[in-house]
């Protein structure tokens, strides 16, 4: 524990041996694919499939009429059809499902399907969607195009601005961000002889998928099994249904043949979910000495035509809207609205990325107004343990924001920034910017954040861990091996993992919300300790020891320290019944206990978290005055995510999140024109390459979190939130410009520089 051991899955991934959901093929397989609407809002008048059906090699074509279940999917609100029925609500809506002998026939059949659509006026702007008379995305929604709205007032609310010496305002716009996992949405399904449908999919949520699939297409839950191999990236984009229901429907119509569905890159971009675009109005007031006094924020989230997880994303953003600061008076309003744009959904850091981008720029703007050091301003207002967040959650766990800021403050990149900036070459301007972060983990107050771990001593004397939570690349499966190995005192090479499978492993929630190792790890500690007790008890009986006191479980055997007698696990295991060789344990994560004066609906959507990670980031950048390009020269982060169980995995999470954050800040410009995606591929949607990224220094601030497994807190998401404000503040530091729209492309930077020069 605590050692930088290589991941268990790295060996099979580096040889090409690991089988992803995309890697299933068989000679008798069929290909399934979806005809998509390609218009953003229209009534369906007819779906003409005759011509396509006649194409040799087409097995069948299915529409909503072939679905016996609810034909609705969704995590909170079930508002998304599997196959559109009365109307289409965005370009990516599926209208017909085709099964064909091969991928070429499938493509031709999809082209031959004609969908008779009567266009409807669309709604594409997140504020216009709220206007009276705006086209309705869901006519049956009682509050127009509002999916969820929230209003929270604390202290004196906006009246407190009267008592502020400085008031800063800003409106920030953030665009969609595409997950762009290397493995696009993919799966494989087959109806077994007993009528069960087995789905192997690239998913973060096998247990929830199982329920959604069964309800949507009208199957008994027992008839659906979901197997989740390691996904080839997910980042929130596979938190929920992608191909699963369509595949199950296809499998039921395939005469027992296996069916493969694999969205291509464009389909993934058009039909997959994305980070919600937002418009964020901020007003921040402070006393002359920099003490924050009042905040008013209006937050708009564009969820596209479906909830997906939009309401939950907005609610987590609301909880983080004030940053990790003491602010006694606030008025926070938020709306998550339906539009005919692509679907907004879960994306690593889940709404917090957007509000942190705004709030942390507000802090720098305030520091500039007050002529204060931006780091000192943050230190002055940083929340500490025992204090209340802006919405009233008491921080009962480890609270390391000050520690993180102090690490940045002492680092040469900060202390020697003046000299570094002054050394910029001709036509270059250098700047250093920082950001302070907090990120809550888990599901919040109402929806139980639980896990069920199971561990087995196999008849061969090995340890088998039944992983209930997907490992989409974070390495939590390996950490499970580390945790169980540590408790059971067994070497890594005697530990095996069973990846999530609704038939074999136990329900343990989603791979999301920075919860995987925290929640499952806690359950696993319980299961491993139970198994250890069972092993020692059995050994005591067999070795005729008076109790287990003298016995030690050591690699491969149990050893009696008093007598020297020992029994190898290979022998012991054969003398144990299956029920004696297996142990389970359940864990439910703690939640904020404060009686918050908020609507029940917001509690249901997660408001009020108890386990929170903290961080501070620094970006040192150079702006090219001729091209407008921003180069990130150095990047430093300090993170309080509790004890680090494996430094290598810790750094992997921080590095990857920073890279996605820098992509969001500088490169990734997902463009949509009246609902239609204009950046449908990796040639037009630009992500950071190895050339665009600096080396990163990632300092762990290892405060012990008392509720965490071995003192750990979640680290999967938090670092995504730092790059945008840190880089934006650095750009402002370098050349005095602030872009209120992302990404900060060379063109936008150049225009801003020229604008400034002409002023």
């Amino acid at each position: 524990m605590g050692a930088a051991v290589p991941r268990a899955d790295a060996y099979t991934k580096v040889t090409g041996e690991e089988k992803f959901a995309a890697d299933y093929y068989s000679p008798d397989m069929l290909w399934a694919g979806v005809k998509r609407a390609a218009v953003p809002h229209a009534l369906i008048k007819g779906i003409l499939t005759d011509e396509a059906c006649m194409l040799p090699g087409v097995i069948t074509i299915l529409t909503h009429r072939d679905i016996r279940g609810s034909n609705r999917q969704g995590v909170i609100r079930k508002d998304q059809p599997v196959l559109a029925d009365k109307k289409v609500r965005h370009c990516g809506d599926g209208v017909a499902l085709v099964l064909a002998e091969d991928s070429e026939t499938l493509r031709r059949a999809l082209d031959l399907i004609r969908v008779d659509l009567e266009p409807l006026p669309g709604v594409f702007d997140l504020e216009e969607a709220l206007n009276q008379g705006a086209p309705l995305v869901h006519e049956d929604n009682s509050c127009g195009n509002v999916l969820l709205e929230a209003h929270i007032q604390t202290g004196d609310g906006p009246n407190a601005f009267e008592h502020c010496d400085a008031v800063i305002e800003g409106c920030f716009e953030t665009p969609w961000q595409e997950h762009a996992y290397l493995e696009t949405e993919v799966g494989w399904a087959r109806e077994e002889g007993d009528g069960r449908v087995v789905i192997t999919a690239s998913t973060q949520t096998p247990f929830r998928d199982r329920v959604e699939v069964a309800e949507a297409i009208g199957l008994d839950l027992e008839r659906v099994r979901v197997i989740a191999p390691y996904p080839g990236g997910a980042f929130g984009g596979k938190d929920g249904i992608t191909v699963q229901t369509l595949l199950a429907l296809a499998a039921l119509n395939a005469n027992g043949r296996p069916v493969k569905m694999w969205w291509n890159r464009e389909e993934s971009f058009v039909a997959g979910t994305k980070r919600h675009p937002t418009r964020l109005y901020y007003r921040l007031g402070a006393k002359r000495d920099g003490t924050l006094h009042a905040l008013a924020a209006r937050l708009y989230f564009d969820t596209g035509p479906y909830d997906h997880l939009g309401g939950v994303v907005m609610t987590l953003a609301l909880e983080h809207a004030a940053g990790a600061y003491r602010i006694p008076h606030a008025l926070l309003d938020a709306w998550c609205v339906y539009t005919n744009n692509p679907i907004g959904g879960a994306f690593r850091a889940f709404g917090v990325t957007q509000v942190t981008a705004a709030m942390e720029q507000m802090m720098d703007m305030l520091a500039a107004r007050l002529d204060m050091d931006p780091l000192e301003l943050r230190l002055k207002n940083a929340l500490t343990r025992g204090e209340k967040t802006c919405i009233g959650v008491t921080l009962t766990g480890s609270t390391g924001l000050v520690d993180c800021l102090e690490r940045i403050k002492q680092h040469p990149l900060w202390t020697e920034r003046g000299a570094w900036k002054a050394a910029a070459g001709p036509f270059k301007k250098r700047g250093v910017g920082i950001a302070a972060l907090m990120h809550a983990a888990g599901y919040g107050t109402v929806v139980p954040d639980y896990a069920n771990a199971k561990v087995e001593l196999t008849p061969e004397g090995r340890i088998l861990i039944y992983c209930g939570v997907v490992d989409m690349g974070q390495g939590n499966a390996s950490t499970n091996a580390q945790i169980a190995g540590s408790i059971l005192n067994q070497n890594m090479d005697s530990i095996e993992l069973v990846l999530p499978d609704t038939d074999r492993t136990l329900p343990s929630g989603s791979a999301s919300a920075s919860r995987c190792t925290y929640t499952f790890g806690n359950a696993l500690i319980g299961a491993a300790e139970n198994l250890k007790k069972q092993i020692l008890q059995k050994a005591a009986d067999l070795l005729m020891a008076p109790s287990t006191d003298d016995l030690a479980l050591v690699p491969g055997k149990v050893f009696n320290r008093a007598t020297g007698a020992e029994i190898p696990l290979t022998r012991l295991a054969r003398l144990m019944a299956e029920s004696e060789r297996t142990a389970v344990s359940h864990f439910r994560a703690p939640v904020a206990k404060d009686r918050l004066n908020i609507a029940d609906e917001l509690r249901l959507h997660g408001l009020g978290h108890a386990v929170i990670s903290y961080g501070a980031h620094l970006a040192a950048i150079e702006v090219d005055g001729i091209t407008g390009a921003v180069e990130v020269v150095s990047y430093l982060s300090a993170t309080d995510c509790g004890r680090v169980l494996n430094p290598q995995l810790y750094e992997q999470q921080i590095h990857g999140a920073i890279c996605q954050g820098l992509g969001f800040a500088l490169f990734e410009d997902f463009q949509v024109d009246r609902g239609s995606v204009k950046t449908p591929d990796l040639a037009t949607y630009i992500m950071p390459t190895a050339l665009d990224m600096p080396d990163m220094e990632s300092l762990p601030v290892e405060l012990h979190e008392p509720t965490g497994p071995f003192g750990l807190k979640g680290v999967g998401e938090i670092a995504t939130n730092g790059p945008t404000p840190a880089v934006a503040n650095a750009v402002a530091d370098a050349c005095g410009i602030r872009l209120f729209r992302l990404p900060m492309t060379p063109q936008r930077v150049l225009l801003a520089l020229q604008g400034q020069e002409s002023q």
């Binding site: 930088a4 290589p6 991941r7 899955d9 790295a10 060996y11 991934k13 580096v14 040889t15 090409g16 041996e17 690991e18 089988k19 992803f20 995309a22 890697d23 093929y25 997950h179 762009a180 996992y181 290397l182 493995e183 696009t184 390691y230 996904p231 080839g232 990236g233 997910a234 980042f235 291509n264 890159r265 989409m472 690349g473 974070q474 390495g475 290598q648 995995l649 750094e651 992997q652 590095h655 990857g656 999140a657 920073i658 890279c659 996605q660 591929d681 990796l682 040639a683 992500m687 950071p688 390459t689 190895a690 050339l691 990224m693 080396d695 990163m696």
Partner: protein, 158 residues
Amino acid sequence: MKIRFKLNGTAMQVDCAADRRVIDLLRENLGLTGAKESCAAGECGACTILVDGESKLSCLMLAAQLEGREITTVEGLASEDRLHPLQEAFVEKGAVQCGFCTPGAVLASLDLLKRNPSPTRAQIREGLSGNLCRCTGYHKIVDAVEEAAKTMQSRERP
């Protein structure tokens, strides 16, 4: 048509359409799923293979172009039960996360090290700029290639 080539050291002959994409031939017909498809347009590098030692994108190659060539996929890198130094370094240095870009990145690195056995970090970044990775932020991939370069050089020395 019949196409003859050497795959991971073994002479082969396949009978398939001349315009079948190499990635489909490898993954579907030959069961070698190490080469991954991610963009199908030559933008991401996940399907990288080596053709006569040079890195090529198998999603942009047709089967007929393999005639008479020597092909290496990620499955052909390890010898018996020993990983190739690049694979070893990717594992040890933590360059693997979701792993979907890994086979392509390893093969592109091999091509790079053949052309430049001791590259600087900047040269490694340039050499791998055609291989997108969404998980690692590239830092540890660069570490791994740097480490492998050292190992490979020390093994070559007598």
